[in-house]
Amino acid sequence: MSLKHKEDTKDIVKNEDVNSELENQDIKVKVTKKTLNSVSRRILLFENSVNFERMQSLAYTYTMIPVIKQLYKKKEDRKQALQRHLEFFNSNVSTASLITGVSVAMEEQKANGKPITDESINAVKSGLMGPASGIGDALFWGTFVPIVGGIAASMGQDGSIFAPIFHQVVRVGVYIAMIFMFVRFGYGQGMNLFQYAGHGAVKKITVGAKILAAIVIGGLVASLVHAQTGITFGSGESETTLQGVFDQILPNLLPLSIFGLLFYLLNKRKWSPILLILFVFLLGLGASYFNILTIGE
């Protein structure tokens, strides 16, 4: 059994060798590194033309134009390529760069005479865009952006000029590095990228990001939510402030309680964000009128 299995694999390996030799002979036009970089640069402008009809389709086409120009010299081929990429596309841009890489690989194969149809190129795009937006929205908008923003907002509370500088060095640096890496990775993997959709590494990164986000959100509640009470007891020398009592129980008790209340209303009572914003305004103005809450120092 195991011996037969080994022979099978040998055969497959042999066949693959033959295939790759054939492939190498077949390749007439190839996407250059320069074109790949141009694709990556164009992705940075991706959301410019977003609309309700086909969302990012024009952006996708704009991104693919350097590839189309390099691979297809005949007008008819270019027309087909442009039209297929104008079909509906919508995803998170940070992860959509992976899909763009795959599209480049497929266009290259098609230009070299492989039996790849317009439909299969678009099927791969629409098959990957769902999982890509799910992971991208959770990791990029839901974790990376608020953590970097939270750190910058904490640093900037006293007006430190390093807050916006830190913010942009991290945001721009990480984003651009990610786009360029993902385009190359998607191009290198081609359709194999599908196997990563449910891959263990992706799950681990997602779980790890959630843990990191939970820890940082806990810290941000303590550092960025401000509420103190101005209520006092007694008078003269025996005067004590309620805030002093709270501080002995738990520092930042009030910010934590307000966070807990809002989370409860959102999660359990299913209040909408707009209603909650109104609630916070009424709470803040009311508490100010009765002198219950102050901003503190």
């Binding site: 940075l44 991706f46 410019n48 977003v50 609309n51 309700f52 086909r54 024009l58 704009y62 189309i68 008819e76 270019r78 027309k79 442009l82 104008l86 841009v93 937006s133 929205d137 908008w141 839901g142 608020p146 953590i147 923003g149 939270g150 750190i151 907002a153 904490s154 007006g159 000029i161 807050a163 916006p164 913010h167 942009q168 945001r171 721009v172 779980v207 790890g208 843990i211 939970a214 820890i215 940082v216 806990g218 810290g219 941000l220 509640v221 303590a222 939510v225 401000h226 520092p251 930042n252 934590l256 989370f263 959102l266 999660n267 964000p273 914003i277 803040g284 103005l285 102050t294 901003i295």
Partner: protein
């Protein structure tokens, strides 16, 4: 505020308000705090106001095809009027939320619908196999984003300062103090929304509590907390092969 300052701020709103600038981070209020602070000659106040509005909008983000409230316009109008009127944080907080909703409305009603023009032009050019006009059509959408940021900002900054001064001089002290309190509370809503997206269970609460205690009791720097968070996340999702092999 001089006309030149208003024009510069409105231009920044036109450039940084584009959706792709949001991916690059330039759309965030903390960045506008620095830029507007330089234009109006008060960088420290600019960054303080930017940080305040940044904190309010940390947890509010777009998912899928939805359009979120415009944190960019909120930051720009809140910061510039906060500095120019001299009322600072209170003005910034009071104006940020309406400005965010205005920006959201302009995106839904102007930018997204009018972006259909370059799209349909591109359909035509694609049928002719021409690439250059498609590139121009795509890039021309930037004009719509520019208008979305420029027009409300020039109106608000050039004509709004007087109005803000009038209103804020007329309302009682507790209202102004109230906006200050609201500014301290609103970030809690964003964090509640973020935690809600993560999903709540015993372990999430434990990690949240850890972060809260490390800042509250130990006054750690938030960057130190983020590094500790990365270490804990890494240790939690990886397995130690050597230890497992020794079993």
């Amino acid at each position: 505020m001089t006309l030149l300052q208003a024009l510069l701020i409105a231009s920044w709103a036109g450039i940084s308000g584009n959706y792709f600038m949001d991916y690059l981070g330039f759309a965030r209020p903390i960045v506008s705090g620095l830029v507007i602070g330089i234009i109006l000659g008060d960088v420290t106040t600019g960054i303080i106001l930017g940080a305040t509005i940044e904190a309010i909008f940390l947890g509010i983000f777009t998912v899928g095809a939805a359009i979120a409230p415009d944190h960019n316009l909120a930051g720009i109008i809140g910061i510039s009027l906060g500095i120019a009127s001299g009322f600072g944080v209170e003005t910034a907080v009071a104006l940020a939320v309406p400005a965010a909703l205005l920006g959201q409305f302009l995106m839904v009603s102007i930018v997204y619908p009018l972006n259909l023009i370059p799209l349909h032009l591109s359909d035509k050019y694609a049928a002719q196999g021409r690439t250059r006009p498609i590139e121009i059509a795509f890039l021309s959408s930037g004009v719509l984003w520019f208008i979305k940021g420029f027009v409300p900002t020039i109106i608000a900054t050039y004509f709004g300062v007087k109005a803000v001064e009038l209103v804020f001089n007329a309302v009682p002290e507790w209202v102004i103090g109230g906006f200050n309190v609201v500014g301290g509370l609103l970030p809690a809503l964003g964090f509640a929304m973020l935690l809600n997206v993560i999903g709540i269970n015993g372990r999430v609460i434990a990690f949240f509590a850890l972060g809260f205690v490390l800042i509250s009791y130990l006054q750690l720097d938030i960057i130190a907390l983020a590094i500790i968070g990365v270490v804990i996340a890494f240790v939690s999702v990886t397995r130690n092969r050597e230890l497992e092999g020794a079993q």
